[in-house]
Amino acid sequence: MSEVKNWHLNRLMQYPYDEKRPNKQLAYVFDTNKCIACQTCTVACKTTWTSGKGQEGMFWNNVETKPYGGYPAAWDVKLLNKMGPQEWDGDLYTGQTIFESQDAGERVNGHMPETEDYAYPNLGVDEISGVVDRGAFFQGAHNVWMYYLARICNHCTYPGCLAACPRKAIYKREQDGVVLIDQSRCRGYKECVKACPYKKTFFNMVTRTSEKCIGCYPLLEQGEQPRCVQTCIGKIRMAGWLSKPGEERQDNPIDYLVRIKKVALPLYPQYGTEPNVYYIPPVHVPKEFLWEMFGPGAEDAIAQYRAIRNDPKMMAAMVLFGNTPKIITRYVSDAKYSIGYNEKDEEVVRVPLIEPFFERDMFDPIKNVYRHNTA
């Protein structure tokens, strides 16, 4: 075991390999407040990568409804239950990670899903947190809640899958931090499936080896964002490069949202893998639930998010979501526009901070019709 620095936990932690951060780290920001669970991302990923035989129940990208949904079934509560109560002291994690709490004979503290757990990817969809009281009516805030959680591989800095593989068939790419399973080296032991706390490595019953999200690296290599990001009609996603801790840049939108404003938070940081998909927490969900899922920064993140109008830089970063297939490595904004640049410093997108507003005459003389709504 080595001691490595995990900036999500604000402490050193145990990991089987030395700390070695990639030259660039693929990272995503997902705004849960904008997700409508249309599953366009899921289908885009499915048709691109997992349409083969043996991949019928395999979704590298899925969108589930919290609090009750989960794919594979109960993936998160099973591990939370197994780990037992753990504590934060402010923003210092004093509990144990999956690399510090494993049983004898295990490399990582994990659990193996049952085959059937993958059969119902939409389990719990749209279910609300509790019953609606008789006689209740909408008064501006719902008294029950639910939200959509879009999930992909987190391309963790300290991947559980990589730590668990006894064959070293899993590796993290130096050039972009993407975590891959070597398809010619894997012998199908499924240790990665058991170890990944997010259950984003999958076993293929036909090829008898494990498979996982590849971060659409062929697109990354061309300076483009992954399929699930490009196709998101709700524009909830952005993918880019997260700088190493201490090297963050104000003009990198991912750095700005994740490291500087801390408006986007890791999913279950307490597991210790330093996941690289960052979520803007849902604003309407009880704080206790958010603490457990996104760590102690959840309330601050929501406060930042609510105050976005006072932060033109954050506004400028957020309007870049979903408006270009290209990876934005630098952005600037003026009074009107947010402008994104690629790695070659070419302008790839220019988005108005406020959508232009048009007012049209009530009568259209060309079509000879009145324009009006029914209200």
Binding site: G105, T115, Q183, S184, E191, V206, T207
Partner: protein
């Protein structure tokens, strides 16, 4: 880390030594048998009845993680026979269920034998050591099914599955993976099969695989496969036969000499117990003597 491993190995050796005394030696009996006996070995061939059995105790692999904390199979019986040119080893053990499917929460029954390349005193029984390789022959229940023409397909595990289409698949529903995915484009949807991973073979000819290793995590399929094998499950017992030429000229293979002695190690996996990889039961080096030809 290495030092701790050695200490654990030493303590394990002291603790397990008394249990291993029952496996004194395996004698490989000479019989004038045709080559076909070895090339197409039959586990229940009547020849085996007269061969004396040696019982070996199996231990849970708990030297390295992942492993087992308690054994899932405790003993196995070993028999061996040779004809001067080929040798066969028969391994049998009790297993109440014939587990031959793999899926996320399913594993296959399996077993393996291991020989040192340079001599038992020069390497470790635990997957060999750097520059001191071991040769392993691995048999799996699922491979046995493969050669019986029953390659595990999706409907075998999920009988009610219905899929609208498989991209580039040819033929008819349910598009058997062994026949409907022969084009390059279709193969490309089957990751490890496309890249010829030795674990992912749609048309396996023999149910055993020859491998080599130089320590934990180094298991590698040999470029040249010389071994044969066959396994049968009957009334709660697996009987598996491994066969190989005594000398192959392959630098990755053990050199077995008539009248000579070497060592052999064993491993058994219980699929019903979800044993896979390092989660196995093993017996470290047991001396094996090839009887002289009278």
């Amino acid at each position: 880390m290495k030092r701790i491993t050695y200490v654990i190995m030493f303590v394990t050796a002291i603790l397990v030594a008394p249990r291993l005394l029952c496996a004194q030696e395996v004698r490989s009996i000479y019989q004038d048998l045709p080559k076909s006996f070895f090339e197409n070995p039959q586990p229940n061939d009547s020849v085996w009845k007269a061969v004396p059995a040696t019982m070996v105790s199996l231990l849970p692999q708990n030297i390295t993680a992942p492993g087992l904390q308690s054994p899932s199979v405790e003993t196995a019986n070993v028999k061996s026979i040779h004809n001067g040119k080929w040798m066969a080893v028969q391994l049998s053990w009790a297993d109440a269920s014939r587990d031959v499917n793999v899926d996320t929460s399913k594993a296959t029954d399996a077993c393996a034998i291991q020989f040192p390349i340079k001599g038992g005193d020069k390497t470790s029984p635990f997957m060999g050591a750097t520059d001191a390789p071991v040769a392993i022959t691995h048999w799996k229940g699922i491979w046995q099914n493969d050669v019986l023409g029953k390659y595990q397909d999706v409907p075998d595990l999920h009988p009610n599955v219905w899929v609208g289409m498989y991209l580039f698949a040819t033929g008819k529903r349910p598009f058997p993976v062994t026949t409907s995915f022969n084009t390059v484009a279709a193969r490309n949807t089957l990751g490890s099969i496309y890249v010829n991973n030795p674990i992912a073979q749609l048309h396996r000819a023999i149910p055993v695989e020859e491998l080599m290793a130089e320590g934990f995590g180094t298991l590698t399929t040999q470029p040249h496969q010389d071994a044969r094998g066959n396994g049968v499950w009957d009334k709660g017992t697996w009987t598996v036969v491994f066969a190989r030429p005594l000398s192959t000229g392959d630098k990755h293979d053990p050199k077995l000499v008539v009248g000579g002695e070497t060592v052999i190690a064993f491993a058994v996996w219980d699929g019903g117990h979800k044993d896979v990889g390092g989660r196995k039961n093993y017996a470290p080096w047991v001396p094996i003597k090839l009887e002289k030809i009278p």
